[in-house]
Subunit: 465 residues, 2 copies
Amino acid sequence: MKLKTTIAVAVLCAATSLTPVINAPILSGAALAASQKTGPQVTSFTLDNGLQVVVIPDRRAPVVTHMVWYKAGSADEPRGASGIAHYLEHLMFKGTKTVKSGEFSAKIAAIGGQENAFTSTDYTAYFQRITPEALEEMMRLEADRMENLVLTQEKILPERDVVNEERNARTENNPGSLLREAMNAALYQNHSYGIPIIGWKHEVNALTKDDAIAFYDKFYTPNNAVLVVAGDVDAETVKVLAEKTYGKVKRRAEPGERMRTKEPEPRAARRVEMSDARVRTPSFSRSYLVPSYYSNDTNEAEAFDVLSEILGGGTTSRIYRQLVVEDKVASSAGAWYQGGSLDETQFGFYGSPRNGKTLPEVEAATDKVIAKLLKDGVTEAEVKRAQKRLVRSSIFTQDSQSTLARIYGGSMTLGSTIESIQSWPDRINEITVEDVNSVARKYLKLKRSVTGYLKPETAAHKNEG
Amino acid sequence: MKLKTTIAVAVLCAATSLTPVINAPILSGAALAASQKTGPQVTSFTLDNGLQVVVIPDRRAPVVTHMVWYKAGSADEPRGASGIAHYLEHLMFKGTKTVKSGEFSAKIAAIGGQENAFTSTDYTAYFQRITPEALEEMMRLEADRMENLVLTQEKILPERDVVNEERNARTENNPGSLLREAMNAALYQNHSYGIPIIGWKHEVNALTKDDAIAFYDKFYTPNNAVLVVAGDVDAETVKVLAEKTYGKVKRRAEPGERMRTKEPEPRAARRVEMSDARVRTPSFSRSYLVPSYYSNDTNEAEAFDVLSEILGGGTTSRIYRQLVVEDKVASSAGAWYQGGSLDETQFGFYGSPRNGKTLPEVEAATDKVIAKLLKDGVTEAEVKRAQKRLVRSSIFTQDSQSTLARIYGGSMTLGSTIESIQSWPDRINEITVEDVNSVARKYLKLKRSVTGYLKPETAAHKNEG
């Protein structure tokens, strides 16, 4: 299950001086839920300026998780300015009218807090872990930078170097990331999900102060944000503090409905192949364009979560059993579904050949699993077991305060409701064998897909490269 | 050479009631030139409102070619409104404040004229062939619709159906076009050249009157246009008439520099495969991302024109000889270069297998030709012969008035000058063996390419499709 996260998650985190880079969890259905019966009493209200506030009480320890989510990610960037959402995330630490550059992080450190920030295709979020006593100060600071950010040329340029270095470390020096970038670009023919969150190198290099300010002025406004406070607090206190702090922030803009271009009907199977001397283990991957939890109003996303569990959920899954256990062509293999994006998303397969086996053999074995699935469908027992595993894992997520805060924050930023998040286990349990077979047959078509091969560089490939 | 045109040209023509749809010629270097020594005395001037006028005297017959070129093509469209440039081209025949819908074309027919219009990635042009006596009336009519277009809901909707039908006829019912669309989308990861000129079907269906008016108001202004008058006229007369007609059109907007996103450095070879029951002859194609005449200031485009001639110019070319004559794997094969686009363009190969031969065999034979080229380079004799053929063909183009008008109009719309167009043969003749080898080795790398397979549908593919 861990591998799913590292492959599928498309989230960039700001590395501050205080916290290591962490990976955000998948905000997919697999982690969406907190059953109403057993979970926390989550409440929500909206301030006069449009800021939506979500409170998740968790009294087990004197700790509070404070997050602000903006409905603005890389897919909302203007064309040609890719990377500006992530760059702005970095610049948000560069000071306001009253707080000097770096002081924000220093204050959090002083009160023993932890912080991070991350940018995705659909949102940008700022996160802190603090003691309950520090919450008001935290809210004051975060509200301050929602409207008072001050950007100067001296702050802008060095931070652009930092972002460039981040791109070098994450992508340029990582053949797997470069291939994933190329696969995304090939899969999405018209939608901005084909553009990397961190931005194309040449465009990041050309980002300006004006680009950052324009993005900030357009999207960083209370009516375009969701505040999540989880932990040792009650809703009443949060409300009083929120009105005292965030309540004073002006409604600065009207971003309106999120305008995204749609994908055309896919017509042709695509393949992307990369050879690189730095590759140690060859790998195969395949992604299909499929609906997300937010891209249509059906239960197809729930069905895909069940299918993902059946095909790729651990060592009892169809893919693992066929490729690793039975055919012995792969040393690792699986399937994943990234349901938590606003627009059409990906259902994916991956595998690495065992010693002596080849990428085409891994691909052929995967195709065999898919062909059998499309022909014979899944079984009642498989669906039941997948449902159990999914619902159980959603209950486990309630154990982590920050995971819960991320799930509610991410989902509500994309337009979900508390009720919908909490009813996810019920909706998963309603999925039938027919629902699963139907989405598989409707969407797992080669023409909807991109296939990637990552290979160690050989002399022959060097000439071709 | 004809096949080059049908594969490479990306131009849509409006089918009016008066003229058949015709194909615009490649505006590549191969057809760019008219040697100053032997060619017409072309002159150019600019009206006060910014309209650039080009006059190409040709007294052989009492015929005049009149063209207006707008610096606005599909690559200038706003995201999500693909197809609007072409749709507006259609709507330009729907009447103005003083000329009723259809009257424009009726008037041209009445004076015995011919007309057409076409949309490309980088421009939209309107073309008429008339007698010299009708020139003033023609200019009055064309100037009128430069600023006085009247669009109503009743005109808009039926014409959108016409455009949709055009997409159905050209693309939806043509597997080769669908594959080319998918290949373009895969080759261009960030640039609008990845979006079809005619527009994605779902976006064309959603185009509105406001989209058309916004595009018209932004780009259809004299300072964003080039007028070409070729034929039985002199520059003085054209100047007087132009001032009398176009001179009265207000400078309606300032489109400014053309903003295009740039491609990232390509990292991974891409492949696109399509199977369709309507395919009779399988075909292989490969395109590399390379510079155009306008995308950089080097002589690389000239070198690519020479290389294209060596690899793909007719039956003595390397590709044809190797694939069709020697290896006998292909029934047809060639190479092409589309130099005349504003931004990075394509250098392409194609081939169809002979009976009993396969697409991978055609591809392998093509790769053998490319590998040999990269290893051993071209010869002095090949370069000399290619130069002779290119320059000779550029002299032939002077024989056609409308071709000359298209060459000057297209080139100057993209920013070229009369001097540059006329010195093209000299620049071609300066290309050396090293220049050709250098561009081949710099750009013909698999990671810069997309490879396409178009296959007849088989039962197996049906399941996959």
